[in-house]
């Protein structure tokens, strides 16, 4: 405590009288015990029971109150401040300027150690400096106890504090309170008990279960310096979360930039970090330091001690919206050449060929209709995602492939198209489906069909989560409904771009060769591509449900193809049965997923070193010096398969993953799993592939990019485990 705080020399006439009285009392207390006794008696006469006299310090008044009028061991006290408007006193960590209340108990009698608690502070700005403290009124609760339970307590306190408004004034106020011993052994509650309890309730509990928790706090170093990225989770939607960070003295943490995710159940708080140490002097590394985080949202607050890790920038939330929109456009465009969309695009191209001699107006209308279908389908997807998110469901790009019935429906549609391309049948109704492939053959160009083309292409595109698409969709899902719609429309426009190009310049279509025999060959080839797509879908079902259900589905699809392909050679009497058989096979195929459930296929031998995903076991493995590699994958995720084939299952990466130093964990998201969804969301990811590396240097995990490369994984494994990188990274 500096002597400055003890200075009572008056500067303003308003406070001079009180100051003089206080100075006199202090002087008397030091010089003449007899006089002090008299002053003390006068003080107690004026004060309320179980409270010291109010001390007016010019910018407010203060006193010490007790929750009980007498004592039986335990003591619950409080420093009660009532401040003049505008004046602030400080929290235990004052922020960029200020100092907290401290109390010197010298001269007290029978008083044991006393601990002050700190109600949740407010964030104030004073001269562009951020401070944490209280205004108007506050009680700082104090827990203490008598040294001798059988005796009363004489409290002699020197309350030192700073109050600031336009200027700062340190104060040191002497206060005295005598509490007699309780004769009954049960203390008598005072009139101040409720007031003290009110402020005790505002003290954020440590590690309490209030449905509010800090999941991780990572130091992220970017071009603009370091910041602390705090991820918080709440069991009910947060509205305005905030966090106070207390750490090593060399660091100053200020007001976070907050973004809400998952409908408010998760928040990412970017806390700016400034280094306050002398240049040239060794700055301690922030990663690995213990931080006290006071997390709050409205009335709720918790205090948690967290070890700072190192993390990666939450880029999705920082890239400007226009950049994300551009990425969405590009991602949509790329979707056109993805294996799951290519057949649909090809069908459309075939349509173009059939337009060969047609009028440009018809071509234009048809292509605009397809574009509209694509955009409309993306809008519908956005609406579904917004609705699901509002319902609190864990959502991601491609998760619809976790639904067996969706896969069956896709399989049936794709198979029927294949049959159509093979020339097995021509659909006239419904027009929007027919146009997707059959109509051109008849020379009829149904706009509804063209529109259906777009819808189908979009639905088939959903599992092909290219890295571009993952970023844009992840960003969209982390934001509000408006952003989701905007980004999905951008995706749609991107994907529709080639069609819009033809619509703008129909001559491109008429430049293609005249229809001829080559078209039939192309149609058959594309039919085969669709059959391949169907086979892939069936294989997804095999992993998801069981091989048995996949075989049944495959058999039904073969029946479908066979019946449609052979119907011309059927006896005339039986021909009316053809539609019936087709419908029956279709209905039965939706029953296929019900068969053979639970009988999951065993892991392939090559994958034997993969352990099941168990996030709870990771800290212990790290403590044992291991590095943990997590791979979240799903059967329907094509990019995941690419990662496995090119990186994870071969070469130096596979060797390391098999080795004794690395524990490889695999999470299978083929079926919906809230635990995995939540795990992904904690990294601000909403789609897969997802890979993370844990080690002593990255206890909270280092997320890898979606598309893996050998050096990315090897570098990540090194970074997570090598000790000297922490200091360099900070």
């Amino acid at each position: 405590m500096t002597v400055a705080h003890k200075s009572h020399i008056s500067q303003t006439g308003m406070v001079s009288f009180a100051n003089k009285c206080r100075a006199l009392a202090a002087w008397a207390g030091r010089i003449a015990p007899a006089v002090a006794l008299l002053v003390g008696l006068a003080t107690e006469a004026a004060a309320e029971p179980a409270a010291t006299e109010w001390v007016d310090y010019g910018q407010g008044r203060a006193r010490i109150v007790s929750a009980t009028e007498n004592v039986a061991g335990e003591l619950v006290l409080g420093v009660h401040y009532q401040m003049a408007p505008g004046w602030e006193i400080y929290w235990r960590s004052p922020g960029e300027a200020g100092f907290p209340t401290t109390i010197v108990w010298d001269g007290s009698d029978n008083l044991g150690p006393a601990n002050m608690d700190w109600p949740l502070p407010h964030r104030f700005e004073i001269f562009d400096l951020e401070t944490y403290g209280y205004k108007e009124e506050v009680v700082l609760p104090i827990r203490a106890r008598a040294l001798d339970d059988g005796a009363g307590v004489a409290i002699r306190a020197e309350v030192n504090f700073l109050t600031c408004e336009e200027v700062c004034i340190p104060h040191s106020l002497p206060m005295a309170l005598d509490l007699p011993v309780s004769a009954s052994g049960t203390p008598q509650l005072s009139q101040h008990a409720a007031l003290i309890n009110k402020y005790r309730a505002l003290v954020p509990p440590r590690d309490a279960q209030r449905g509010l928790v800090v999941e991780r706090a990572d130091v992220v170093t970017g071009e603009a310096g370091s910041h602390l990225q705090v991820v918080a989770y709440s069991d009910r939607p947060m509205t305005a979360p905030d966090v106070f960070v207390e750490g090593p003295q060399a660091f100053l943490f200020t007001k976070p930039d907050v973004s809400l995710r998952d409908g408010g159940s998760r928040a990412v708080l970017r806390v700016p970090v400034a280094i306050t140490a002398i240049a040239g002097k060794e700055t301690p590394a922030l990663p690995g330091s213990a931080l006290t985080l006071t997390l709050l949202d409205g009335e709720r607050a918790v205090e948690q001690i967290v070890t700072a890790g190192i993390g990666q920038a939450d880029t999705a939330s920082f890239a400007p919206f226009v950049v994300i929109l551009a990425l969405a456009l590009l991602g949509g465009l790329i979707l056109n050449v993805m294996p799951c969309v290519l057949p649909v695009l090809s069908i459309k191209l075939l349509g173009v060929v059939s337009h060969g001699g047609g009028d440009s107006g018809a071509v234009r209308r048809s292509f605009v209709a397809t574009s509209a279908g694509i955009v409309a389908a993306f809008l519908a997807l956005a609406a579904i995602l917004v609705a699901l998110r509002a319902g609190g469901a864990a959502i991601g790009w491609g998760v619809q492939f976790q639904q067996p019935l969706f896969i069956v429906a896709m399989t049936v549609i794709v198979t029927l198209f294949a049959a159509n391309l093979f020339g097995f049948f021509e659909l006239r109704l419904p027009a929007w489906l027919a146009g997707a492939g059959g109509a051109p053959r008849e020379g009829r160009h149904s706009l509804g069909g063209a529109f259906g083309n777009g819808v189908l292409a979009t639905i088939l595109a959903t599992p092909c989560s290219a890295p571009f698409l993952g970023t844009a969709v992840g960003f969209a899902l982390s934001r509000g409904a408006v952003e989701i719609f905007a980004i999905f429309v951008a995706l749609g426009i991107g994907m529709a771009a080639p069609f819009l190009l033809v619509a703008a310049v129909p001559r491109l279509a008429t430049m293609l060769p005249k229809p001829g025999r080559w078209m039939i060959v192309v149609r058959r080839l594309l039919g085969l591509a669709l059959v391949a797509t169907a086979v892939w879908l069936v294989s997804v079902l095999a992993f998801q449900i069981s091989p048995a259900s996949a075989y049944i589905l495959a058999a039904l699809m073969l029946v479908l193809l066979a019946v449609l392909g052979s119907r011309h050679v059927w006896p005339a009497a039986l021909r009316p049965a053809v539609p019936f058989v087709v419908v029956l096979a279709t209905v039965l195929s939706f029953v296929a997923p019900q068969i053979g459930d639970a009988d999951r296929s065993a892991d392939v031998a090559d994958d034997s070193y993969w352990q099941p995903f168990d996030p709870a076991a990771i800290p212990e493995l790290i403590a044992d010096g291991k590095v943990v590699f997590v791979d979240v994958t799903a059967e329907w995720c094509l990019t995941c398969k690419v990662n496995k084939e090119l990186v994870l299952n071969r070469g130096p990466v596979a060797a390391l993953l098999r080795g004794p130093d690395v524990v490889a964990m695999r999470a299978d998201w083929t079926n919906p799993d809230p635990q995995i969804a939540q795990y992904l969301a904690s990294f601000n990811r909403y789609g897969i592939p997802f890979n993370a590396i844990y080690g002593t240097l990255a206890p909270n995990g280092l997320a890898l990019p979606e598309l893996l490369k050998d050096d990315i994984v090897l570098d990540g494994l090194n970074r997570a485990s090598r000790r000297n990188l922490v200091a360099e990274g900070s």
């Binding site: 002597v3 400055a4 200075s7 009572h8 020399i9 004052p94 960029e96 600031c164």
Partner: protein, 194 residues
């Protein structure tokens, strides 16, 4: 004619009164201006109080631990500023004090910014470095003996001493000390102190 002359007569008295009042006001203003001794206390230095007090026999230390007192600056007008790292308005005004020293510091004038943090140099030095106070020396009084002796209990407080070490005025609260009015005030002290 008669009504007209009556009108003139009835106007003569009030017009004469107004004229007399105007002359009186003009004389008073003139008299005050002629009599005004102090500088203009406006704008940033509105709260500055001009009050002569005998010099203070106080000492503090510089960054190297050497004892420093007002006597070391005899012959210069000295602006002593008391600051602390916990005092937001002090932190706010320090850069302007640094700029004032760059503008006016020299043979006739100097700024002495005394830090009163309990932590002394370890607390003050990094802070000063972060604020980039290139023109200000580091002066420390961790026990605040100086501030106590001269009656400082509001932070920030700025006290101006003449060339002989007598206090000529002080201000409680922050200001932009390189503002034209603050510089004019310091120049006024420099010009008046011989």
């Amino acid at each position: 004619m008669k009504p007209a002359s009556k009108t003139v007569k009835s106007l003569w008295l009030p017009l004469g009164g107004i004229l007399a009042a105007a002359v009186a006001v003009a004389l008073m203003v003139n008299f005050q201006n002629a009599n005004r001794q102090g500088p203009e206390l406006v704008g940033q230095v509105q709260a500055f109080t001009l009050e002569r007090r005998p010099g203070h026999d106080v000492a503090w230390r510089d960054g190297d631990g050497r004892e420093i007192s007002l006597a070391d600056f005899r012959g210069k007008v000295v602006m002593v500023n008391y600051w602390a790292t916990w005092c937001a308005p002090c932190i706010r005004e320090l850069p302007s004090i640094d700029r004032l020293q760059a503008e006016l510091g020299g043979e006739d004038f100097t700024v002495v910014a005394i830090n009163v943090d309990r932590g002394g140099k370890d607390t003050a030095a990094p802070f000063a470095e972060r604020l980039d106070l290139a023109n200000l020396g580091l002066y420390l009084d961790p026990r605040n003996a100086t501030g106590r002796a001269v009656g400082v209990n509001v932070m920030p407080t700025t006290i101006v001493y003449d060339r002989h070490g007598n206090e000529v005025g002080r201000m409680e609260g922050g200001a932009e000390w390189d503002s034209p009015e603050a510089q004019a005030l310091m120049r006024w002290f420099i010009d008046r102190s011989t």
